[in-house]
């Protein structure tokens, strides 16, 4: 019995120390673990403004997307609803790219404040539904602040939190 209890204690304490260590490491390296920075990060964090490759994520602002006739040169605003950043990109954009949807762009920040992207990734949100349902929801006004339409429920379409990889709807996910 005492042996079993001792093994139990060792496993428990080991697990506790391991989780603490993991939590510390993950917190320490948070800046390299994040896949992208928000326009607010770019505006506020000095070291992000240096000339280096980085990724910026946010929502393609409604009615900001312009493309030239060649179909390859794109220009749009990426916003986290607090700050926005102008992105210039030449290349093929993914299927899910649209105004009001999430996007992650990779490239460099130019001195004039625009972002020259050489890669554009569409970020999908966590909502799955048939087309008819999406349209019915929009019509009835029950569309809860998804990034898709930009028809907000109130002034803060994406919830209180600025966009930052959290739920677009500002709704909390439950712990599983």
């Amino acid at each position: 019995m005492t042996r079993k209890r001792r093994r139990l204690t060792v496993v428990f304490l080991g697990g506790l120390m391991l989780s603490t260590a993991a939590a510390l490491v993950l917190t320490a390296f948070e800046d390299s673990i994040v896949f992208f920075h928000t326009p607010t990060d770019i505006a506020t964090k000095q070291d992000l403004q240096k000339d280096r490759r980085l990724r910026v994520g946010g929502i393609v602002k409604e009615e900001s997307w312009r493309k030239k006739d060649d179909g390859l040169t794109h220009d749009f605003l990426v916003t986290d609803l607090t700050h926005e950043i102008r992105v210039a990109y030449k290349g093929i954009i993914p299927d899910l790219f649209r105004e009001g949807q999430g996007v992650v762009v990779e490239g460099r920040l130019l001195p004039d404040g625009t972002f020259r992207a050489d890669e554009v990734l569409a970020k999908h949100d966590e909502n799955y539904m048939p087309k008819e349902v999406a349209e019915a929801l929009k019509k009835s006004g029950k569309w809860k602040g998804s990034a898709v339409t930009g028809t907000p429920d109130g002034d803060k379409p994406y919830g209180d939190k600025p966009y930052g990889g959290k739920s677009y709807g500002g709704q909390k996910e439950s712990a599983q």
């Binding site: 093994r7 080991g14 954009i93 899910l96 569409a122 999908h124 966590e126 048939p130 008819e132 349902v133």
Partner: protein, 247 residues
Amino acid sequence: MLHRFANPTRFLRLANAVLPWATSLTVILIGAGLYFAFGASPADYQQGETVRIMYVHVPSAWMAMFAYAFIAVASAVGLIWKHPVAHVCALAAAPIGACFTVICLTTGSLWGKPMWGTWWVWDARLTSVLVLFFLYLGFIALANAFDDAARGEKASAILALVGAVNLPIIKFSVDWWNTLHQPASVTKIGMPAVHSSMLIPLLLMAVGFTMLFVVLVIVRARAELADRRINALRSARIHAETAQSGA
């Protein structure tokens, strides 16, 4: 409760009683899941038909994590209470979990190319799932690395417990950090993020995969127990022969 199944005889009796039920449930649920996934569910308003990849990707991802949690719990029980069946179950589950992880990663990649515009990115979710795959490989390798089976069991059980720290990281990576991968849909509170017509095939496949996991764990555990018994018989025979020649 646990002590009841620590005995291989009792374990096998229970496992063999469960096996036919689990097998028929697997066939029925996955069959129904496939019907809904391809026939009776609509295209998504954003992704179109590509949403049908979700019905194999998401259940595989759940199984990849569930199988690892199963291995971690079995390893803890094996280490602390020394139940012989616990290690057998952990060992049986490892290749199954590794296969589901492979399915999760490849189908995710096949979804990512048309939807995100890339096969792979090193974001927190994708990277932590890749780490999970290597943990599975490490567990299997370590369990078979020693001549002394008991040592392999102990070493692999410790690895399984250490690696369990990765599970919450996978689950919450999409909430803790900015990732390209979307956050959880099914466990979201509030407005259902997945419409019921798409939730049906998703859940059918998920429960079907769980039943398949049960079937495969039983089948593999039986093979492992028989294998151990064979080895025990062989060494007993060698002992008997050497004793005879000595006398």
